[in-house]
């Protein structure tokens, strides 16, 4: 057993006849950020959902702190309480205020006293530049602010690792920065993260390692600097060149 916080071994997953994941191997060590890149439809979201047990895998194993979490005997609710996940479309609860969104899980899933959960939620929101917005509803906030709330919501349960699924790709370009800078802060604080992203500049700056997902497999991975300047596989080169043409690099 390695010292990884999260480890994925030989994971496969099909939807009907379509095999989306064809044997994924991947490890995220403590305080590390791993960037998961790949074309649209390559299976990044599927992999993150499978790790968070929101979807069942067909084969292989996922370990969290050395413990198999994909064992059928394993209680998914307990596993999800140890992980944080942020979605592309924010998925805030629209019928709850910002503070209620953030305090819900500590109170209901972790048995924190209601007053304390709200107090802690307030502090967290303030720390991430959202003081004064606690009692507003999500639809009053900009996309960038909503996604920051979603990050705070995921952090409120003090997760062992964060799974971020293209958290800036639904945002207007001018709002991307405020969300990424928050992730940068989390990295500086030592948060362990697996980040699916289309922001190559960001991946290069923050990630300890970049994994390129292609056709359901991680066909190349390594140091961000090398991955972006001297990719070995032809598919990786083609993918990066296409992004370059789209002026995203």
């Amino acid at each position: 057993m390695s010292d990884a916080v999260l480890e994925v071994r030989g994971v496969t997953k099909s939807y009907g006849d379509v095999q989306v994941l064809r044997g994924i191997d991947l490890a995220v060590r403590e305080h590390e950020a791993i960037a998961l890149i790949g074309a649209s439809g390559s299976g990044k979201s599927t992999l993150l959902r499978c790790i968070d047990l929101l979807d069942d895998i067909d084969d292989g194993d996922v370990f969290l702190d050395g413990e198999v979490i994909t064992d059928p005997a394993c209680e998914p609710v307990q596993v999800r309480r140890r992980l944080g996940m942020v979605f592309q479309a924010f998925n805030l609860f629209p019928h709850m205020t910002i503070l209620e969104n953030v305090a819900l899980a500590p109170e209901r899933a972790h048995g924190v006293d209601r007053r304390e959960a709200r107090e802690r939620g307030r502090e967290l929101l303030a720390r991430f530049g959202l003081a004064g917005r606690e009692d507003e509803y999500p639809d009053r906030l900009s996309g960038g602010q909503q996604q920051r709330v979603a990050l705070v919501r995921a952090l409120a349960t003090r997760p062992r690792a964060l799974l971020l699924d293209e958290i800036t790709s639904a945002l207007d370009p001018e709002l991307v920065g405020e969300v990424l800078s928050l992730v940068r802060d989390l990295k500086a604080e030592g948060m362990t993260m697996l980040i699916a992203t289309h922001e190559m500049g960001f991946a290069r700056e923050v990630a300890n390692e970049v994994c390129f997902l292609h056709d359901g497999q991680i066909i190349e991975h390594g140091d961000p600097e090398r991955m972006f300047t001297a990719p070995e596989r032809e598919e990786t080169q083609r993918f990066l060149r296409r992004l370059l043409d789209a002026r995203r690099l």
């Binding site: 929101l54 998914p76 999800r80 998925n91 629209p94 899980a105 209901r108 509803y137």
Partner: protein
């Protein structure tokens, strides 16, 4: 930088007001023409004097109204009791139908049958079958009061409709909401209770209220079992005096409840439009 000259702004304001005034005028004139025309057709028809004395007799109204009003209490009480049962039972059925727990399979089958059958059979038939069928079993412990039996029948029938309304609401909440609730560590039950249901119920408030309104008037169906509720009392009164005015009196009482409910529904729908367009918090 250009500023609109003050006199042009004033002229625009004046034009807007003139247009509004013209709109009101057209509405008034067309209402008078249409309603007046209809009234003229009815009032000048050869049968009108006879209809007037059999349906709109003031003296018959005055003598029958107090009895009908007293009987209407039964309708109101029955309506409230049945509605309360329907709201809870409908929700339970909807939840059973939407869960995937294998242990609940028999219940799921049962609730599917319940909804299919009770939605498919006319309410008045259900009232007959329960109202006359249950007493015929002659089992001790079962209710025999026709009001209670009628209420049970109505609750059965309406719970099927209301369950489907709830179910549609639950399905209308995007699956990503449930995924987000699970991802923060809630259990399936908590995700349903705290995240999916509150959103679902808000979305179906209007259709629920719609079913409220139709239940309120269907309470009169219980009259076929014989209890002296408003419609039945009006019917008896009408038969005794060969005058249909008591039925009009009963109709007015039903309207006195259903019309305010309908206005409430309008307001709620306007509000939910505001909510979905993001101008009002949920």
């Amino acid at each position: 930088m250009t500023t609109v000259p003050v006199d042009r702004r004033a002229a625009r304001e004046l034009a807007r007001r003139r247009k509004a005034r013209r709109g009101t005028l057209i509405a008034v004139v067309s209402s008078v023409v249409v309603l007046g025309g209809l009234a003229a057709i009815v009032l000048t028809s050869s049968g009108w004097p006879a209809v007037k004395s059999t349906f709109f007799s003031w003296s018959a109204f005055k003598t029958s109204f107090p009895d009908i009003l007293k009987a209407f209490w039964i309708d109101v009480k029955l309506f409230i009791a049945v509605e309360a049962v329907v709201l809870v039972l409908g929700l339970v059925i909807a939840l059973v139908r939407t869960t995937r727990a294998p242990a609940l399979f028999p219940l799921r089958l049962l609730s599917t049958l319940w909804v299919d059958i009770l939605r498919g059979v006319p309410t008045i038939l259900v009232v007959y079958l329960i109202g006359f069928g249950i007493p015929a079993l002659q089992l001790s412990g079962l209710p025999t009061d026709p009001v209670v039996l009628g209420g049970i029948a109505l609750a059965m029938s309406y719970s099927a409709y209301v369950a489907e309304v709830y179910r549609a609401g639950i399905h209308s909440v995007h699956p990503s909401q449930r995924a987000a609730a699970l991802a923060v560590g809630l259990t399936q039950t908590q995700a349903m209770r705290r995240v999916v249901l509150p959103q679902a119920v808000r979305r179906v408030l209007a259709p629920l209220l719609n079913d409220f309104i139709s239940l309120q008037k269907d309470v009169a169906l219980v009259s076929v079992l014989g209890p002296l509720e408003a419609f039945r009392v009006a019917q008896i009164n009408a038969a005794e005096n060969f005058n249909y005015t008591p039925l009009i009196a009963a109709a007015l009482l039903y309207l006195a409840v259903t019309v305010p409910l309908a206005r409430m529904l309008d307001r709620m729908q306007a509000r939910s439009r505001d909510v979905t367009s993001g101008t009002v918090p949920l």
